[in-house]
Symmetry: C2
Subunit: 420 residues, 2 copies
């Protein structure tokens, strides 16, 4: 969301090149005539700005055999960005081109709660270097780094703020550490915000729509996208749906409250119920599977039980999905999105889980709010965090004012006048 | 919220005068140097646009004895707008100046459910004419009309869409009827959206912040403001919090669902409980008061009982406030606003009601989301709808592109170049 008043200065002074670049990034490849039509600018103006954008190396002409008109697109190979997805039980790092396509990536296990920020960040830095070597990318071509973490973030400062599941990280300078390590800008955001951005650019969502990206994994949270931009709220806490209370439920949550959605329906709650079902014998499937040394009650395992006809497994998953859907039904009445994308370990366990969420939303929201509402699984699955973190970096690197500055650096002084 | 891509054409071509006008409207009176600072434009550019804006009659120089610099403000008397607030039990109409100050207004009873759109609109047209005569305003100076109704609206078309409490109004051309009647633009929106706009410009809210305007009256609904603009949602249904379900509650709602907030805590539910308390004798105060012929169980009467120490009255109000606060607590976790303004009949019954809502929100939202959250009564009380409807009209009349067009109409052809 762009506040037209706060951004008046930027918009009036430097927006033209930035606007054109954003249009190319969102809809390219485009001919110059398309850009004239989309912006309402004069042909000559568009032409001047396109030459400058090509001059910066950010935009290139698409080579099409036999094509007559030049068509412009983002010069996807002009540089790379790193996308880093820090989860409670995984670390995923990727190098992506300027269109957020993965060049090379790696996913490893991580016990976030038992690691310090220093060790995790050193591991991230080493992984970025290894991946760059693997892909033959020179470190000077690393334009920026985006990072998603499972907790609240002060986006401007690039620091986590009292994150419940990563206690040693409170106010740790994550972005500035990585920025210093690689000599390029780094950006930090909440994992679900980052995943929502990935979905907007590379997944199931319309780039300009309003949608919710709901993660149902170990934690539960939502990224809110309104008119193409992340809605962070007054304190950056927007989307914290895991701690919405279920009326009348008294399950104790790790946050200290009772009846939080996450305590009832999140990954830990589901695993605990599965272990109880294995122990009590109500789930023959889980009793057998969890008897194997090292076996864990993962969403995948429980989903497999459900598919094999184990009723306790099915009940555990459906109860979780219904609780999530009942909360989302309330939020649909309030926010009226056109799309809800569901991702995370439980959502990825199978279509049946998302179908139950969908059913609960449709049953309990108003007909007008659900008239055209689509509820579906993330198209990016477990790559959502890596891709989204890269998109976060690209969004910030290629903001209107930054592109404006890049272009103006090359422009002759006479062009810097602000005469409208 | 302005979508920078969708609005690229408008922004690039016509925004400068519109930006300057909006800044004057939001923060004026301002000296030209303030505008230079706020926009980053050149002095000469600002000066040219100010002359043109003064030329259109929309902006005037403030006369201050002894003031050296010219200070610009909206020429509030250049015209009037009509604000129309259609409620379930009232009709309020006002004429307001271009700064949304009420010149003259009138509030009457209305039984909306038993009237046709034709009779209500005829009454509105007659009232506007009577008020104009009363204020000595020529009808040619009526710039526009804003209308708020208690139901969903297709904002672009200016029509109600399947409004539950005004069944005869479905798709009735409200805006175009009034527009045709007075020969000026007319705009229609949901009543709570309109009240939120009024609060933004003339009430308790920051003009650029994110806040919820929550009406707790016969109906319950919320207007959502994000970065100064109304959030309407995909189908214009955003903010429909009256039909959010309370988990486990089975009270039948007029919408056909069970446990809706409005069915549990709205004006009808409160009145029904008060009548039951009068009949059963559990409220001596209500038994006495409601025995008077023509007496009704209004929020004011029940609040008076609570003030007089009648426990049943207090319990009825506090139960309603707690139910509203419990729902708002969930929405605070999701949306993280900085301000919640509460208005409507029940909220206006006394500070105690709003205090109970506040308490419920603080008890059940996350600490980060409530860190700086303010919950307070509307500063506009029962004028919120009239003022808000006028602000709606002013917002639309004075949008960037409209002001741009007004100014460009007066500009010499050479100035129409779109060279940046």
């Amino acid at each position: 969301m762009i506040d037209d008043r706060r951004d008046a200065q930027t918009t009036v002074q430097t927006s033209t090149a930035g606007h054109i670049f954003r249009i190319i990034r969102d809809r390219g490849p485009l001919a110059a005539t398309d850009i004239v039509r989309l912006t309402g600018l004069a042909k000559s103006t568009v032409s001047v700005h396109l030459d400058r954008l090509v001059g910066t190396g950010l935009v290139r002409e698409e080579v099409r055999p036999g094509g007559k008109r030049r068509r412009l697109k983002v010069a996807e190979s002009a540089g790379v960005v790193a996308g880093v997805d820090i989860g409670q039980t995984h670390l995923a790092v990727g190098l992506l081109d300027l269109e957020a396509s993965i060049i090379v990536d790696r996913r490893e296990s991580l016990e976030l709660a038992s690691e310090t920020p220093e060790t995790v960040l050193a591991r991230i830095a080493a992984t970025i270097r290894e991946l760059a070597a693997l892909a033959g990318v020179d470190s000077t071509r690393l334009f920026g780094i985006g990072v998603g973490v499972p907790g609240p973030v002060d986006f401007e400062l690039g620091i986590p703020v009292t994150p419940p599941v990563m206690p040693g990280w409170d106010r740790y300078p994550v972005a500035s550490f990585l920025s210093g390590e690689f000599g390029c800008p780094a950006f930090l955001d909440n994992d679900v915000n980052v995943m929502a951005l990935g979905e907007r650019d590379r997944g199931a969502a319309d780039k300009r729509g309003a949608f919710l990206w709901v993660k149902v994994g170990t934690g539960i949270g939502a990224g809110i996208v309104a008119e193409g931009e992340i809605w962070r709220g007054a304190k950056g806490a927007a989307g914290d749906i895991g701690h919405i209370g279920i009326d009348g439920d008294s399950t104790l949550c790790r946050c200290g409250n009772r009846g939080c959605l996450e305590a009832v329906a999140g990954g830990r709650a589901v695993a605990a119920r599965a272990e109880a079902a294995a122990a009590s014998g109500t789930s023959p499937f889980l009793s057998r599977e969890l008897a194997v040394p090292g076996a864990r009650a993962t969403p995948d395992l429980i989903a497999r039980g459900a598919t094999h006809g184990d009723e306790a497994c099915l009940r555990i998953l459906m109860d979780s999905a219904k609780a999530v859907g009942d909360v989302l039904a309330k939020l649909v009445n309030f926010f009226n999105p056109s799309l809800i994308v569901v991702g995370g370990g439980l959502a990825n366990s199978g279509e049946r889980y998302v179908a139950s969420i969908r059913e609960a939303i449709y049953r309990r929201s108003t007909p007008l709010a659900t008239a055209d509402l689509v509820v579906k699984k993330s198209a990016l699955a477990e790559k959502a965090g890596t891709i989204g973190a890269a998109v976060l970096a690209l969004d910030e690197l290629f903001s209107h004012s930054n592109v404006g500055r890049l272009v103006r650096r090359d422009a002759p002084p006479a062009e810097r006048s602000d005469t409208p």
